[in-house]
């Protein structure tokens, strides 16, 4: 159990080579950590028996097994849903930043994990990658071949150009016609007002949204000391900066930026998770499962 749980650590995962393997290990590591998982048992396809626990519905007791064994067992079924999920992965230049692993790498693992989890639960899963425009668009499907394509697409992602998050979201809003679960994985480094507006437009089309805002710890703390030339990873713009002189001001503005999103998504009933790349994946996965439970 412990050996599987270590795959929840991003740094450990980063050392693995195959992304599908990474996703499998992470998800399994995550799932083995869940005791008395409430997320099993909704499928119509039988999977396993488990001893009766007080509180289980009586209709679930397999009376034939009781007759044979004189003990109460409850049947478990594999879930079958018509959930369509879109993973929106931001591959803009700013996502390429990170101290140990980049935000994009983290986002890729998280996307793969979520895709795996969704696939495993027989949900239709698709992926959309974007920077200033949409790069990859794989529509949702529960087939294994789709999952393989998704993993390939994620694997091939490299940091791109500037972000036009709001614009891309508006565009996707028009493309995704059927109600779906939209999982946005991005650092949201774009004009917050516009981004929130685009997310609200998703909500208005009855889509369910989970936003994972990926942030590197250095972006919080701005720990740089000496005067240096700072280069924008999206625009390549250079700026000579004395970090010590502006740290407080930077931190204040960054906090304001995060708070603005936090406040905005709360008001719009959008699920939002701020994720530091140093955090383990279970935090993100857990919040996804909570959301899924609410949906089903």
């Amino acid at each position: 159990m412990k050996s599987k749980a270590r795959y929840l650590n991003p740094e450990v995962v980063a050392r693995l080579s195959r992304l599908d393997l990474k996703a499998r290990l992470v998800v399994e590591g995550f799932l083995t950590g869940l005791h008395h998982s409430p997320y099993k048992g909704f499928s119509q396809e039988f999977t396993d028996y488990r001893p009766y626990i007080p509180g289980d519905e009586l209709k679930c007791i397999d009376w034939k097994v009781y007759a044979r064994r004189d003990r109460f067992y409850v049947k478990e079924y594999q879930e079958e849903t018509n959930l369509r999920a879109y993973i929106l992965l931001d591959k803009s230049g700013s996502m390429g930043y990170g101290k140990h692993i980049t935000k994009l790498e983290y986002a890729k693992f998280l996307s793969a994990c979520l895709a795996y989890l969704l696939f495993k639960q027989r949900d239709g899963v698709g992926i959309i990658t974007f920077d200033t425009k949409i790069n990859d668009f794989i529509p949702p499907s529960a087939k294994k071949i789709n999952f393989t394509r998704i993993i390939e697409a994620i694997d091939n992602i490299n940091p791109g150009n500037e972000t036009s998050l709001a614009q891309v979201l508006f565009e996707l809003g028009r493309k995704i016609k059927r109600r779906a679960l939209v999982i946005l994985i991005s650092d949201l480094f774009d004009e917050p007002k516009m981004v929130l507006k685009s997310l609200k437009s998703f909500r208005a089309r009855k889509h369910e949204i989970i936003v994972f805002q990926i942030i590197d710890s250095q972006e919080f703390t701005f720990p740089f000391g000496e005067t240096a030339i700072f280069q924008d990873m999206e625009t390549d713009e250079n700026l000579v900066i004395e970090p010590g002189a502006i740290r407080d001001s930077y931190q204040k503005r960054f906090k304001e930026f995060l708070n603005y999103y936090h406040q905005g998504v709360l008001e719009s009933h959008i699920d939002y998770e701020l994720i530091n790349t140093e955090e383990t994946f279970d935090h993100a996965l857990f919040s996804y499962l909570q959301k899924r439970a609410r949906l089903l």
Binding site: D216, M233, N238, L239
Partner: protein, 604 residues
Amino acid sequence: MKFLYPVYLFGLILIAIPIIIHLYFRKKLKKIFFSSLMFLKRAEASRLRWLRLKEILILIMRCLIIAAIFLALARPQFEGGLFTKNRLAAVYVIIDNSFSMGYDKNFETALNQAEKIIFTYSPKSVFYVAPLCNQQNFKPFWSNRNSALKILREIKLSYSMGSLKDLYTRFLEEKTELPKEFIYIGDGQTINFKDIEALKDFYWLKIPIGSSNIVIEYGALKNPFLTPKDYYELKVNIKNYSTRSYLGKVQLVADNYVRQQDCEIPPGQDLITTFSIPVMIKNGVVKIDGDSLAIDNQYFFTKSLLTRVKVLIAGNDEYIKLGLSPSATIKTPFEIENTTDLKRIDLRPFQIVILNGIEEITEFEILKLNNFLTQPRNGLIVFIGPKVGQQLKNFLTDCGNIEDWINIDGYLNIKWFDTNYEPFYIFADNPGLKTIKFFKFCRITPRGRALARLDNDMPLIINHSNIMVIATEFNENNTDIVYNSNFLPLLHSLIYGLINKNIDNEFKVGEKLLRPGLIKGLDGEILSEGIFSKPGFYTVDSETLSVNIDPLESKPVTISSEMAKNLGIKTITTESLSGPADLTTLFLILALCALVCELLFLLL
């Protein structure tokens, strides 16, 4: 600017070090890739420009420190711009030795500055060194530098005023192949520039004048036309030219007679104080507590008090005699005689001769009268009668052209009196004299000074030298003056107007005694030229004379910079002549300041 050790200037190359370091580190600055400059830009916006500026300012300060240190090591020397060294010229160096230069050490400063100026010229230059005052005792000539310096040291402070006009005129007339320059070193009192309209090649080395001068302007008899009995009154005018109130004592010292009064004079104002002095004391000194210019703090007085005046009347003497000596009981200072024959009488005992209605005089009488009038204290009063002979007309021609006798219907009054004529000041507030009627009078075209005019603007009283002409005869047919209470004061004023000239034996420094006599100073010095060169007491034929400075020089009024500019004067100050200034300390201070600034910038 010159440098004593110019080799250190090579050190200025080291200025390149901070610049190179700056550029090197700028190039070597670590590059950090960051997700987005969005927040940094916002945070930086206000500080960014300041940071860039700060970086440059620090670099400048570092360069400045190095530059200042090496410039200081090279010992920079600054030389005045106006007088460049080793100029070849023919130079007039005029030292203001007027007594206003006696403020503090102004005169010594002037001499020292003159010496410095002379040294700024080439040794081949020629100099004409002269004082502003007392030039008659000074024989200047073109000289070389050494002689000029010697002459310079012979110039002494004077007690008189001076004018630059004559010296400058002489300067203009000088013919020399060298470029000419005129340098005046002094306080620049306005009076020194009197009658000068434009100047060329004229330099004024300004010696700042003092601003706290107290001066005794004059001492005068309070009433010069009264014969004092026991005491006479001397009014003393003290002027405070200072910007502060003067609080001190004014003291009168005459033989063993000493009187002292406290006085307080607000800034810029006069104080007239009066001393009562016994009639036997005729001369003395009035002094005030000293300021830095002590020359004008004392006033030597010699007062001639009114004594009996011998008057000779030729012609109708009835009314004039009555006017000068109304009755035996009224004591007047006049001793009157009359004559019908001017030829025969000896005029020497008399001081005043009155011709009342005389028609004509002979040539011999003219000769006698002319001889009589050569004495400065003698005077002639002529009342013009109905007929005037040609010789009398000629005799009075300096006063005016005597024309015809006018009979009018009715009468005229006196329209105007010249109250600026000192003996007439008593009529200034007295309209009584203007009520006197004149029935007949003579038309005179004046050449002398008209002292009174009638309603038709014709002159009534004309004065020239010590002759007074009145355009009417004094009798009851021509005027009712003989019945007027102002008759006596008018006669007195006419007489004292004539004899009061030089009644005080008081002179000003620089004036010349016109009458012959051996002038001796109290210290035994004999004035051969007859010109008074310093204040004090002198004796001439056992008569005491007092000599004072002219208080005009005491007024601290210098020509304004605008006026100097208009005149074409190039003004220079002592600072600009103080020779090469060592700027080492200045550069060291500059380096220190730059260091402090750099530290401040680093802390900000």
